[in-house]
Symmetry: C2
Subunit: 366 residues, 2 copies
DNA sequence: GAACGCGACTGAATCGATTTACTATAGTGT
DNA sequence: ACACTATAGTAAATCGATTCAGTCGCGTTC
């Protein structure tokens, strides 16, 4: 009988009453003079465990604690047991959009005892193509695609956030862009703006297309024209690598300024580009909201502290992440569950970057 | 002999020439009329592979392609093979500090073919205590602790970023806070500031203590006093959950304003709190830099687009992440490698939020 | 007192690959 | 023609746990 009690917080490398040898089922079996079967049955609480005497169970659990036995995850998985592991694919984890989503995902996954791999592909097509297989090799039971195209179907459940997948049977979590567009446009309209510029999202971003279409549709319904020359696209995806959204917004806004002196409102693709645009206007001697009103999108942390505080369409990113994780787990644990699309409600947050347009045509301040 | 060529991009669930059954070594062996041993030897390119005829090798590789055979990672690992998997522990992935670091880490890991788990513990002590073991169970070969305390030593290499570990034999990547402090202080001093307020980092953050100590030391050397009443701590760690750095900075700055009308300079713990503070000053009718100069820390994306553009001490977060990953891999692959501390050089980035103090004592503008 | 049932376990096959220690065949030198 | 050496491969044990199909002893029951 072993005398030593292992320190509860032993770090594997340290002593555990077994003199350095790994604590395996076989070792425990030896020590308890039972068969590995019995111990396995008790530990994994299989139905068979009912047939084991309580006294024996107690002995087993005690030994488990004493030696800090931890079943080998890999051996277990060989028998097709669950891995409780999923993957998140994302263009880049560096920006606040992705980071907030992942934060929400993580929160929910942790609550349910799941682990996750993160793969950021930076838009590289071959990574997008091959990493699902590698992840499958590693036993993930499901995947969350953030803003990432998926062309084929996979053998595990998939949830897409900011959907740009073509694959069937994928659940998706998307913001209600129609509602968002109408919210932003109506707000500006009510303030009295007639000429509105738009910063479209980069091609390759899941929301770009849908958002733009929604904006056009809403504009048509409200009898506004979104003039093409007052529209800028925020750069192609692959180039997004070293350029930040603010940077993209800054340059797009400058271009806009060169083209026109008329517009009094701007709807940006997101808060980052909105902040960049405001900076550009400011550099041109124009004030926000005095000369131009700006509406952002997302409501990132800085939005509320920006000068001026940013009026924006809030996307509940944390919730969306949680929702994505929850949907995924549901589909993993209840395979009968059908895939479905969840539309998330955006919210207009009015702050300081929007105001009625100046009565006079604007002119750069000195 | 199989007739069909598997589609190269088959998604596991789909046909692969084997009618749905898993493609295992045994299956391939059967199909090629070779023993599993031979195939294994060839595929894993063990030394023995030299003894296999080239012709046979070719046949094997062809079959591997044809059936899209992928060795089972878990079965492999049972034999103690490498997992190429590490873990990153972080308080929270949502903020730009962590996100940038992870982005750097990820970049380097991906380059070397490693996968990684992320665990964000939100400061919860029991998670910090238990997750290393769970991660070890999952076969990680090393861990990166971002801003996370580690009290015991682990059986795998550990690299700490923004170091607050007490464990021995841990490599660490830390910013040179002494240099940073001197940079910030000298900048303000040269502009003519005498009375300088400080926003200290939250307790529990790895850099807080060191940064503050460095600041005091540098101040002493430069013959400035950092008055305790002009010093604020940015809230305790656990409460940091729902509060953003900007929020913390905002409130701390307000408090500062209530206490004193004298200070003309502020050194913030990071850019988030700096932006919050600027907002608070502005709300009180004070301008930055006209009335108060503000120095941030980190140089996050928004810093360059903020109004005013933020003067800040840049921390090369992406590089630090890459460095951390590189160190970790080195220690994994060359166990003889000793742990060491890497001091990263900060850089002063002068923008618009700092200027000489106004000659007159300041007073709130209307 | 033979047949039966039941409680409490266990043996052996299995998951999918790796690895060590062979074997079988063909070719070489003398 | 015989030992000897490559060459080309294979059988079987192993990693650590799970699981199906028993086994063994003992108390009932008619």
């Amino acid at each position: 009988m072993a005398k030593r009690i292992a320190s509860s917080a032993n770090g594997r490398g340290t002593a555990n009453g077994n003199n350095g040898a790994r604590v395996t089922l076989k070792f425990l079996a030896n020590h308890l003079e039972l068969s590995p079967t019995t111990i396995s049955v008790v530990i994994s609480d299989s139905p068979l465990a009912a047939t084991i005497a309580q006294k024996t169970k107690d002995r087993i659990w005690e030994a488990v604690r004493e030696f800090n036995y931890r079943p080998n995850v890999f051996a277990r998985y060989l028998h097709g047991k669950r891995t409780y592991c999923v993957a998140v694919l994302v263009p880049d984890i560096g920006d606040e959009f992705s980071a907030s989503l992942i934060s929400g995902i993580e929160k929910e996954l942790a609550k349910r005892g799941y682990f996750y791999f993160v793969v950021s592909h930076r838009g590289a097509p071959e990574l997008i193509e091959t990493s699902p297989d590698t992840l499958l090799d590693r036993g993930v039971e499901g995947m969350i695609f953030i803003n990432t195209p998926l062309k084929r179907s996979l053998s595990v459940p998939v949830v897409a956030v900011s959907d740009i997948t073509e694959a069937p049977d994928v659940s998706s979590i998307v913001i209600d862009n129609a509602r968002a567009a109408s919210l932003a446009l109506k707000h500006l309209l009510k303030l009295g703006h007639k000429s509105i510029a738009v910063l479209r999202g980069p091609r390759g971003n899941g929301d770009s297309e849908d958002r733009w279409l929604s904006l056009q549709k809403a504009a048509a319904e409200l009898n506004i024209v979104l003039a093409p020359k007052l529209t800028r696209e925020l750069g192609k995806y692959p180039e997004c690598n070293n350029t930040t959204m603010s940077d993209l917004g800054y340059h797009a806004a400058k271009e806009l300024l060169e083209v026109s002196q008329e517009f009094t409102g701007l709807i940006a693709f997101n808060d980052g580009s909105a902040i960049g645009a405001i900076r550009a206007f400011r550099d041109a001697g124009l004030g926000v909201p005095e000369d131009i009103s700006v509406v952002g999108f997302d409501d990132i942390e800085q939005a509320a502290f920006n000068i001026p505080r940013l009026t924006t369409i809030r996307q509940p990113l944390l919730n969306m992440g949680e929702l994505a994780a929850r949907s995924l787990i549901k589909r993993i644990e209840q395979p009968a569950e059908k895939s479905r699309e969840v539309l998330v409600e955006p919210k207009l947050v009015v702050r300081e970057s929007t105001a009625p347009p100046a009565p006079e045509p604007r002119r750069p301040r000195s």
